[in-house]
């Protein structure tokens, strides 16, 4: 199993929500257990991606501001809230590094990491088992 899937290049909006859903559903072992979807609230393209993923799983994404995603306390609280579920995040590069590193320090495993280039925007979607 490849640890990382890097998707690059322009992606049509129709494809945004579909490919990651399939990839993450497979890689995160999703389909059975509960999942939490966290999306960076100030990035419309991240929201488009996350809504597609959340819809596919029948959950409502959590929209989280960039300041919270840059805060140790706030990210820890999100991970607490996610409990033992799978967590899918869609956010910018900086927030993704912070989120993944805080999760890793709690023993969570990163099971997928996808890089998206949409125009000049760089986004990351990832799945972790908390």
């Amino acid at each position: 199993m490849d640890r990382r899937i890097f998707l690059k290049g322009l992606m049509g909006s129709g494809a945004l929500g579909l490919l990651p859903v399939a990839a993450f559903a497979r890689q995160a072992g999703a389909g059975e257990g509960a999942v939490t979807v966290v999306v960076q609230a100030d990035l419309p393209r991240a929201q488009a991606l996350a809504v597609g993923m959340a819809d596919a799983r029948g959950v409502t994404p959590l929209f989280v501001g960039p300041d919270e995603l840059g805060s140790y306390g706030a990210v820890s609280a999100l991970l607490d809230r996610a409990g033992r579920t799978s967590l899918i995040g869609v956010m910018d590069d900086a927030a993704a590094v912070i989120f993944q590193q805080i999760a890793a320090s709690r023993g969570a495993g990163l099971v997928a990491h996808t890089q998206h280039r949409i125009g000049t925007e760089s986004l990351v979607s990832f799945a972790i088992n908390t």
Binding site: R3, Y72, D92, V97, Q101, I102, S105, T120, S122
Partner: protein, 515 residues
């Protein structure tokens, strides 16, 4: 149960590895030995521009305590399996938790996260390697202790033991972290436990207050090395000053770095400005504002000087931005403030006080770091290029203006050759500068990964030719950086390694040291 595993330590058979894993599990418990590939993700390399396979680990083991580490050492010696100790493993641009050589077992010390003692009168702490700066900060707040510590920029998730052992720096008057450590406990490869300085004596109560003990001082050989596993560290804390006055001075031109350094050096050496001053370039500041690179530059190549000028103008950022603080009483700070104002006026700098900085994320996180308040503000840098890749190139410079300008121009030229931006800062010691350059690249782009590697390599060798050495290096370049320090030093290190770790089981290759 059949384990899913692809990587083995070099020269170790699968059968021996399995035996070793069983013995490790008997020591630390099944749940604290990981060999399953999908669960090893937290330890894999992220910020090294080389193929993942080079730094793939075989397993991780999480001991909880000195006695367990001693027993792990026995197993490692028995099977000649190398272990790679990490505390929190968050020195991202220097390599994170990934082992220096493929197949090593990461010894994750995060379960050893006890704050053993804080002495509020002597302003000292004794901590284990898994303690994070955030944890220590919360402890001091919870116990209402008016004590500060110095922490690096990724402070909330990093820890003092790992940072000190790696000789990291922070931004308070205690910013040279190893200098403000006092006493270590180290488990050696043969299982012996060494306490340095006064800690070697039974019943000593001066371990955290007097560094030297009697005879040779050994602490230094356990930093940036692989001669032992540091399991406790004393650190000095700073009494919170009655008056703390952080400030920024902005300068309009890149070449102003010469007069900035010439003006600041005497103030720093005389400790009018007591903290580790930061002189940050526009492009270190911009991502943390945040400014989007794509609004000023698209397409290949490094960002132009004109675009950088426009960023400065649009976002009120200096070409150089000096961050410093006064730490004292109102009376002493009032007196020293007049000196700061005079220096700024005399050098063409614009002062921004804390009051005037309200609402600026870039300034607020700096001011917090200067009082040792952990935050993650600097992670904004990862958004600059897109793709989130980063390696820190960190040569040392004299605190002389001409030297800093020379280093900046050398770096900028080489970075531009590979299409990378100069994103740099100088952290001022007393007489030196840590010139930290964040080589930002897209880690999802193989071509940029290759360029980042080649660029770092050229930076390293070009700087070395000029006599500039690294103060710290990304794990992927440990061997090459060590080579720049010459054969005699390396030979001595090897002899020490042979004496202390004859089976080469503690992190062989770390900082270029191996048998």
């Amino acid at each position: 149960m059949k384990e899913q595993r692809k990587v083995l330590p070099k020269g170790i058979s699968a059968a021996d590895f399995d035996k070793a894993v069983r013995e490790l599990r008997a020591i630390v418990g099944d749940e604290h030995v990981i060999v399953e590939e999908d669960k090893l993700a937290p330890y894999r390399k992220i910020m090294m521009p080389v193929p993942d396979e080079q730094h793939e680990l075989s397993a991780s083991v999480m001991p909880d305590g000195v006695e367990e580490i001693q027993r792990v050492m026995k197993v490692a010696n028995k099977y000649r399996i190398p272990v790679y100790p990490v505390s929190t493993g968050k020195n991202l641009g220097y390599g994170s938790a990934a082992p220096v050589q493929r197949g090593q077992i990461v010894m994750d010390l995060r379960r050893m996260n006890r704050i053993i003692e804080v002495d509020a009168e002597l302003c000292t702490a004794l901590v284990e390697p898994g303690v994070t700066y955030q944890q220590l900060y919360d402890y001091l707040q919870e116990h209402k202790l008016p004590l500060w510590f110095s922490c690096p920029a990724p402070s909330a998730i990093a820890g003092p033991v790992g940072n000190m052992v790696d000789r990291g720096v922070g931004y308070t008057p205690y910013g040279e972290h190893f200098l403000f450590s006092c006493g270590m406990e180290v488990v050696l490869a043969d299982g012996q436990v060494l306490r340095t300085g006064m800690g070697a004596m039974e019943n000593s109560n001066t371990w955290q207050v007097f560094k030297w003990g009697y005879g040779p001082t050994l602490d230094g050989i356990f930093t940036q090395s692989n001669f032992g596993v540091v399991t406790k560290m004393g650190m000095w804390l700073m009494p919170a000053p009655p008056d703390f006055r952080p400030f920024c001075i902005q300068y309009p031109n890149e070449t102003d770095i010469t007069k900035i350094v010439e003006a600041l050096r005497p103030l720093r050496i005389a400790m009018v400005i007591p903290n580790a001053v930061v002189i940050a370039h526009t492009l270190w500041e911009a991502p943390c504002k945040p400014v989007k690179r794509a609004d000023y530059h698209t397409g290949p190549g490094a960002i132009s000087d004109e675009a950088v000028k426009k960023i400065q103008k649009d976002h009120d950022i200096g070409a150089w931005n000096v961050y410093a603080g006064l730490y004292g009483t109102k009376e002493t700070n009032d007196a020293n403030w007049k000196i700061i104002e005079a220096v700024a006026a005399g050098t063409g700098g614009k002062i921004i006080t804390q009051e005037a900085s309200k609402g600026s994320k870039a300034l607020e996180y700096r001011f917090d770091l200067m009082k040792g308040k952990p935050n993650l503000g600097e992670f904004g840098l990862y958004n600059w290029r897109g793709g989130g890749g980063s390696i820190w190139f960190a040569p040392v410079s004299q605190a002389k203006g001409a030297e800093t300008l020379k280093q900046m121009q050398m770096a900028k030229t080489i970075l531009a050759k590979y299409g990378f931006d100069y994103v740099g800062e100088f952290i001022v010691g007393w007489r030196d500068m840590h010139h930290v350059i964040d080589l930002l690249y897209d880690r999802s782009n193989p071509e940029q990964m290759q360029k980042a590697y080649a660029c770092y390599d050229e930076l390293l060798h070009t700087f070395a030719k000029e006599g500039y050495g690294m103060y710290r290096a990304n794990t992927a370049f440990a061997e090459k950086v060590a080579a720049t320090y010459g054969p005699v030093k390396r030979d001595v290190e090897k002899r020490l390694k042979r004496a202390l770790d004859p089976n080469n089981i503690i992190a062989p290759g770390r900082c270029g040291i191996s048998l």
